[in-house]
Symmetry: C2
Subunit: 355 residues, 2 copies
């Protein structure tokens, strides 16, 4: 029995009726909030912020103080797993995180260590424990990880690159290396998510930011099947077996049928796929999370409301929609515009949840 | 009556049976060929190469001397139109083409000049005339343009950017500016394509490289509808009314039904959409062009053949498939690997064209 007061997101994921469409925002704890920037400064560095449970939990709850959100998501970075596996993560000013020594061959992959991932990443468990205490059972907390394929892309490329040619070519000319890497990541990610469940995460989400780079056969082999393996392992573990799981493949609009058969409870939808069309394909057995164009938040009050209404109308009647953006909120959004959006979702969606 | 000897591509576009699946390669005249680099050096600059009909036609026919291709595509750049409209295109070493003064508001858009586009771009017409003479009716020549939306993205962003936030936000906060820009481009692109038809282009292709950035409503409003308007105008012009038209929206896998209703004769498919699935949606009234993952060309001989066979098998029996990559060939491909691909397509596809 959950003690959480606001159960809209959990109910939606579990197929129970709700009074309004629940809403949270990808990257809601982030640079568009001045209070985030303050805390980030205090931490000294981005990785310092991730590794400090006190400050990480603080930024996790910050957006909840401003907005009528139905969930928190733990503040962390998807690249902490490769770091814990021995591929050192670097940060420089004015540049995203990167790996100075990206993986070039199977020997590099074999050096990666999948032992004791949960111990090495116990700072995330501690941040979850501290956040749960701060949330005081008001809303559920979402834990997350990158997908095996997405983590592989960064580990082989070193960082997000223009066209990811190195890993996309490796899929054809050194698939053994990539499969080996994905197998190792599948083990580490599973351990990491089980740890998050034990620490108190109420929902788990897998971010597959770069699955959309692959052709359809390779998407199944290198991205969806490993995610499905993780889901199966989570279902077979007492700590995680009842925790709803959301999969989000950016650019996955062509593969919704296959993703919906993976065992997940919800599918994250990017902004390019029409949500009405997605619902026709996915059905109502699982949830759809999404999918407002993040750039809509740079519009006027009226255009923000119209764009959000189109998403809500697109999903239509029913209780299996979690409102979100189709990708993370960007740092240039004004917080008052996000407030307009969230309040509108709450007001406008009620009509679709009557009786 | 066409005098062209190899009519495979024209027949495929016109719904007539062919003996093998025709093949050409996006960006087949390009930097992966040493002879291209030689000619490019002679021209002094990229724009110099585009503007010199003798050299532009030379690089256009170069790949035909090496490979058993079923078409040539005129060598040019999609950004010559904005340049001709008054937005000066710049080139610097180690950087793609860019606009130093990108468009910021409707006043900037109003300064653009759609007059006499065909005259200003007569170097492209001359390159087509010269290429037709060099081709000597062996294979058809494809002319092309960027789509209104895709040209808009470069004109507003200045160049290809990480997430195109400026134009994606303008769609929400200054849609009047973007609509005005797209209207002007629709006029210029139509004039440009009619000019290419008059000069001798046998097929016309519209490259919508960035339509996939948009949500589905905005894709229709800002990208597909303007392309459809261009098609209608081309159909109403004696010079272009019988010329087959191919539309290619990269990332357009969710909108195949709508694209196939645009009046085009063929749809370019990027590598992320399964071609079998695409055929189920599109049917056989129009062609599908694509869609091998361009990175497959970095594989071994065997993996190249297997990947190509999967595409050909995916389309299956029938005469409405033009084999191509799902995106342009990259500069690091070895020409001998492309030869392996093209020969294999010719050999392997015969089985699907019997009786």
């Amino acid at each position: 029995m959950s003690l959480i007061k606001n159960t809209r997101i959990l109910d939606t994921l579990n197929g129970l009726p709700v009074d309004k469409t629940p809403v949270w925002i990808m990257r809601q704890a982030g640079r568009y909030l001045p209070e985030y920037k303050e805390t980030r400064k205090k931490a000294g560095s981005f990785l310092g912020l991730c590794k400090n449970p006190d400050l990480a939990s603080e930024v996790t709850v910050q957006p909840l103080r401003r907005f009528d959100l139905d969930a928190a998501i733990i503040f962390s970075d998807i690249l902490t797993i490769p770091d814990a596996m021995g591929l050192e993560l670097k940060f420089e000013d004015n540049r995203g995180p990167f790996f100075e020594a990206p993986l070039n061959n199977i020997n590099d992959v074999e050096k990666l260590n999948t032992d004791n991932i949960a111990e090495k990443l116990d700072y995330v468990a501690n941040a979850i424990i501290e956040t749960k205490s701060k949330l005081n059972n008001e809303v559920p907390l979402i834990g997350f990880s990158g997908s095996p394929w997405t983590l592989s892309t960064y580990m082989v490329e070193g960082c997000a690159t223009k066209d990811f040619r190195k890993i996309r070519s490796a899929v054809f000319n050194d698939s053994g290396m990539i499969k080996n890497l994905i197998d190792k990541l599948t083990i580490s990610i599973t351990d990491y998510l089980v740890m998050q469940a034990k620490a108190g995460a109420d929902v788990l989400m897998i971010f597959d930011s770069w699955g959309g780079l692959l052709n359809s056969e390779n998407y199944l082999d290198f991205s969806l099947n490993p995610m499905q393996e993780i889901i199966e392992k989570l279902r077979n573990n007492d700590a995680s077996k009842n925790i709803p799981i959301i999969l989000f493949t950016k650019g996955g609009g062509s593969w919704l049928k296959q993703i919906s058969a993976s065992g997940c409870n919800g599918i994250g939808l990017d902004w390019t796929t029409n949500i009405k069309y997605a619902r026709e394909i996915i059905g109502e057995k699982i949830c759809i999370q999404g999918n407002l164009d993040p750039c809509a938040l740079h519009g006027t009050e009226q255009s923000i409301k119209e764009a959000a209404s189109r998403v809500i109308d697109g999903y239509g009647y029913g209780h299996r929609h979690i409102f979100n953006l189709g990708h993370g909120i960007d740092q240039f959004v004004k917080p008052e515009k996000l407030a307009i959006l969230i309040n509108h979702v709450k007001d406008y969606s009620t009509q679709y949840h009557k009786n």
